[in-house]
């Protein structure tokens, strides 16, 4: 039996009168690539925000590798929740490499004093992080962009950098928020390859995506959400062939 990485138990969240997560329970194992699909406003991104700690659930619990996951964003990132953002949220005044170097979970120069002292051990840690960052960039074929200011890159490459930065975290749980929106051509293939590799390396990957063929190609399973609830979990084919769900999806998308 593969190890369970992420478990949500009866997670609820409402904003004012609007229920954005309605009693969500979900389990994710190492090697899973779970697709989250559903119409806009179904609560897919909200679910990511609840897991990564941007929002606190009203009730319910979230476990990472059996440990209760609590606290603000940075605590959960350190526990091993790595995520990307639909709109990348790159650090726009910084280079690609600098963006990557903010990502490692262990961050020796965290304190200002330590950073000022610039000791040998700090320099070695920096060099190691740099190597790892370059390695991730090479896997994406983006090593040559390391010194570029991120906002000067084409959109598709920025999207990849968003994922690369999250990979620096090296956590067991990887949440990808619409990684394919606006990504085409070779970047599309790179993204697919990276997601497959990360799952094969034992991570539990969860993807919010509107691109159904991407989900079909990659995901072992998918979950259909609507109005903050999980309507069905199953194979991607089952979900896309369900007439009821298709109507919900495309009916809502048309409106």
């Amino acid at each position: 039996m593969r190890q369970e990485v992420l478990r949500l138990e009866n997670v609820c969240k409402r904003f004012g009168g609007i229920v954005v997560a309605d009693n969500i329970s979900l389990s994710l194992h190492a090697g899973d690539v779970l697709g989250l699909i559903g119409p806009n406003g179904a609560g897919k991104s909200t679910l990511f925000n609840l897991i990564s700690g941007l929002f606190r659930p009203d009730t319910g619990r979230i476990y990472l590798e059996g440990q209760l996951l609590t606290g603000p964003l940075h605590r959960r990132a350190r526990a091993g929740v790595a995520r990307t953002w639909q709109h990348m949220r790159l650090f726009r005044t910084m280079t690609v490499l600098e963006n990557m170097l903010v990502g490692p979970r262990e961050y020796p120069g965290e304190s200002m004093l330590r950073s000022m002292a610039d000791t040998g051990s700090l320099r070695r840690a920096e060099a190691a992080a740099r190597n790892r960052a370059m390695h991730v960039l090479e896997r994406m074929g983006l090593a040559h962009t390391a010194g570029t200011i991120v906002v000067d890159l084409p959109f598709g490459q920025q999207k990849l950098i968003g994922v690369a930065r999250a990979l620096m975290n090296d956590g067991r749980c990887l949440l990808l928020d619409e990684p394919m929106a606006g990504v085409e051509g070779s970047n599309y293939e790179t993204m697919q390859r990276i997601v497959r590799d990360e799952a094969a390396a034992g991570r539990a990957v969860c993807v919010v995506e509107h691109n159904v063929s991407f989900i079909k190609d990659l995901c072992t399973e998918a979950v259909f959400m609507s109005y903050g609830r999980i309507l069905q979990r199953g194979s991607v084919d089952d979900l896309t062939q369900s007439r009821e769900l298709t109507e919900l999806y495309f009916g809502a998308a048309d409106a």
């Binding site: 904003f15 004012g16 609007i18 954005v20 406003g41 909200t46 925000n49 941007l54 929002f55």
Partner: protein, 309 residues
């Protein structure tokens, strides 16, 4: 202390004194609402408005109406000039809020230094005497200045309300305040609206500094203090709520007036900053009770913005 006549007297004087405070606050809040601009340059405009009246009535011996007209024309002219040649340039560059802050503050300082050079640092008043005839009504002293101040302020507020509510230009102002891009799609020129709101603010500022300058001495440094009180009232009133900011301005003036019963007058200003600081910490988005009708949409949009981000 608890004599009702004394309390009523403090209440009345406080309301009368709040008049120019209200006018400055409305001018500041209107610019903030329509232009999304913390316009500290209005301190400079106050200085220009005051010294124009002071000079034309005292040095040039113009009639009162001519002095006031000159002040309105010059203040509005400078407002339009600043809008076109400075604010608009910064806006087109997508400058950060910090740059706008620096520009408007430095502009006011520039004006203050210029006025110091021209008029010195002695406190001046528009008329040589700041006394005005007083009548006693039910034991309360009511001066002509009080009546003029309350009347002028109420008149201005009503005129502004009617303008916003019932004229096309007023509706355009609301549309631009709400969403300038959307308003642009409907053919409303944001620039025209900005200039209009600037001119309205200029008129309010002239009226306010007229009241202040017929009652107390003005030096080139006074306007900065006046603008800060307007900022405080605007913040506590809730952004984008011009008339509730005006009500807060009256409330703050009354708080200061009544505080003389409890604390020495030199601590009154500290009270104001204390109120500001606490209000900011407790209600970083304005006092919630005054925006209850909008609570729902606000919560929703905040949620979706964060979720989408």
């Amino acid at each position: 202390m608890t004599d009702p006549v004394i309390l009523l007297q403090i209440l009345w004087t406080g309301i009368a004194m709040s008049s120019y405070f209200v006018l400055f606050t409305v001018a500041f809040a209107l610019t903030l609402k329509v232009e999304k601009l913390w316009n500290f340059a209005q301190a400079g405009l106050m200085g220009i408005a005051f010294y124009t009246m002071f000079w034309s009535l005292n040095a040039a011996n113009w009639p009162v109406w001519a002095g006031i007209s000159a002040s309105v024309i010059l203040t509005a002219g400078v407002t339009i000039g600043v809008e076109i040649w400075a604010i608009d340039v910064l806006r087109r560059r997508h400058s950060s809020g910090l740059i706008f802050f620096i520009f408007t503050l430095i502009f006011s300082q520039f004006v203050a230094f210029l006025l110091t050079l021209l008029f010195g640092t002695e406190p001046e008043t528009i008329f040589p005497s700041v006394m005005s005839p007083v009548r006693i009504v039910g034991g309360i002293a009511i001066s002509d200045w009080d009546l003029q101040a309350v009347g002028l302020t109420l008149g201005m507020l009503i005129a502004l309300y009617l303008l916003i509510r019932f004229t096309r230009d007023g509706q355009f102002m609301l549309a631009v305040a709400d969403n300038e891009k959307l308003a642009g799609i409907y053919g409303i020129s944001a620039r025209r609206v900005y200039i209009l709101s600037g001119v309205i603010s200029a008129v309010l500022i002239v009226a306010g500094i007229w009241l202040y300058g017929t009652r107390a001495g003005v030096t080139p440094d006074v306007p900065v203090g006046l603008i800060l009180t307007a900022v405080i009232a605007t913040l506590i009133g809730g952004l984008g709520r011009v008339f509730s900011a005006a009500i807060v301005a009256v409330g703050l003036a009354l708080l200061q007036s009544f505080s003389i019963l409890f604390i020495s007058s030199k601590w009154q200003a500290l009270l104001l900053y204390g109120v500001l600081f606490c209000a900011l910490l407790l209600f970083p988005r304005g006092i919630p009770a005054w925006r209850w009708r909008r609570v729902r949409p606000v919560a929703k949009s905040a949620a979706t913005a964060q979720a989408g981000g």
